[in-house]
């Protein structure tokens, strides 16, 4: 069974349609990338999965059970965790406090110590900076903290919204490497990115969203070779 499935999902902001009849499946253990222009509906899709937006039609299923009627905190409790675009860490709290807040769910709380060890091993810089106010760290370090905070909730599905945003090339490579590592350790990943080439290189499969509709889907490699993708999203 798929881990997550969207079936004919429509989402609208007032009269403005943002997603139309979106079908999408995520298989356990995979990295799935969703690419598309700004305004295509990628973030809207993540917000609908997280329960921050309600679909107007269609359904979202986790292990075959309805997810789209649950409030966001319950979605997180089920192991579906989003790293928001722009990181949204708590700037005045320390690194450690930010991480601890990630393990606030009932399911994650008993494993806090073990989760923390894992996150600090994955991001040694966070161990070094554990007592520092998070807002005083660089953009790359804040992105690592945002991912670390999400891992503290012990996600089965980790959803990342533009993790490379505003980061230096070296840090982008580092972030993508770590996403691969998280996936190999058993977490399913849904990645939304403008950095189309790196996203499709990392992903096993990809979806292309245009004006709120899925227009293409396939292996990441095949999408990279697709003429339309090259013209519309790779600037070739």
């Amino acid at each position: 069974m798929s881990l997550l499935a969207l079936r004919a999902v429509d989402v609208a902001y007032g009269d403005l349609s943002a997603l139309t009849a979106v079908d999408l499946v995520i298989e356990p253990g995979e990295i799935l990338s969703v690419v598309g222009a700004n305004g295509a509906g990628k973030t809207t899709m993540l917000r609908a999965i997280s329960g921050l937006l309600r679909p107007r039609a269609g359904e979202i299923l986790l292990d075959g059970a309805r997810l789209d009627r649950l409030p966001t905190h319950a979605v997180v409790e089920h192991g579906v965790v989003q790293v928001p675009e722009g990181r949204k860490i708590f700037p005045s709290l320390t690194v450690l406090e930010n991480l601890e807040l990630g393990s606030y769910t009932r399911a994650a709380r008993p494993h806090r110590r073990e989760s923390l060890e894992r996150v600090l091993a994955l991001f040694p810089i966070l161990a070094e900076r554990r007592g520092q106010a998070a807002g005083t760290m660089s953009g790359g370090q804040q992105q690592m903290l945002a991912i670390g905070r999400a891992l503290m909730a012990r996600p089965r599905l980790l959803m990342l919204d533009e993790p490379s945003l505003g980061l230096a090339p070296k840090i982008v490579q580092e972030i993508f490497r770590i996403i691969g590592e998280i996936n190999r350790a058993g977490t399913t990943v849904l990645l939304v990115e403008q950095n189309t080439r790196q996203a499709l290189t990392l992903a096993g499969r990809g979806y292309v969203l245009e004006n709120g509709r899925v227009v293409l889907t396939g292996a990441g490699r095949d999408l990279l070779d697709n003429e339309h993708v090259q013209r519309a999203y790779l600037g070739m």
Binding site: A37, N38, S138, G139, G166, K170, Q194, T196
Partner: protein, 248 residues
């Protein structure tokens, strides 16, 4: 937009501290009239602080900043803008309730003396950046690529000889980035010099005549883009792996 021949931007020994942190340290930089200079470096290297110092948002602790021979140190941002030096911001924050045209008019008032003139200047700039079809739309309804164009338009409407662009390509996909590269080339063709902060290496290599690299507040490289991108110090501090991979 005729630019009188000048000496451009000349920064010498610029230093700025925040508490115990030295954000920018003895930094030298020139941007000659007609030049496009790329300013790159890791997150937190001090690039945006340099923009803040040049544009008058912070005062330097040490060093000098001259634009066409006039010292900028101690001048207010609006006075620096009036001298012909404009900047954009990384996080674009247009007046959400104003239309595209009205937002650009705010910039045009840097030179215009009355509303009609500001409107004419702004309308020309709105068309120039490709926002003509969106000119009467409230800024809150613009997509991110269009908001980035609006940010550039607001700066351009002040009629600068030097324009400082702070990550106008972040958050855009490669095809949207190609369009902004074209826009920057057209701005340069109007006679505007540019100093550009950007992490998109393909764009910065395509546009820059010269590339300057900042690391921990200090300049570690300054030269032709192709040479700087191969500099082992720059690869280690900023590009990682191979510079070819980063430039894609």
């Amino acid at each position: 937009m005729s630019a009188p021949a000048g000496r451009g931007l000349e920064i010498r020994g610029l230093t700025r501290r925040f508490g115990g942190l030295v954000a920018v340290s003895r930094f030298d930089l020139t941007v000659a009239p007609g030049e496009i200079v790329g300013l790159i470096g890791p997150n937190g290297a001090g690039k945006t602080t340099v923009f803040h110092l040049v544009a008058g948002y912070h005062a330097p602790n040490e060093g000098s900043i001259h634009f066409d021979g006039t010292s900028l140190v101690g001048l207010k941002p609006h006075a620096i803008c009036r001298l012909g030096l404009a900047r954009t911001f990384q996080l674009v924050q247009p007046f959400a309730g104003l239309t595209t045209l009205e937002n650009v008019m705010v910039g045009a008032f840097n030179r215009a003396r009355e509303v009609g003139e500001a409107r004419r200047r702004a309308a020309e700039i709105v068309d120039f950046v490709g926002l003509g079809p969106r000119r009467d739309v409230p800024a809150r309804h613009l997509t991110l690529p269009d908001r980035k164009r609006l940010e550039v338009a607001r700066g351009l409407a002040t009629d600068p000889r030097l324009l400082l662009l702070d990550e106008v390509m972040s958050g855009l996909n490669p095809t949207e980035i190609e369009a902004i590269i074209g826009l920057i080339r057209r701005i340069h063709a109007r006679g505007v010099s540019l100093l550009i902060i950007e992490h998109v290496m393909r764009a910065i290599l395509a546009l820059s005549h010269r590339l300057v690299v900042l690391h921990h507040g200090e300049k570690i490289a300054d030269g032709p883009p192709a040479r700087v991108a191969r500099d082992p110090l720059v690869v280690e501090a900023y590009l990682g792996e191979t510079s070819e991979a980063a430039a894609r």
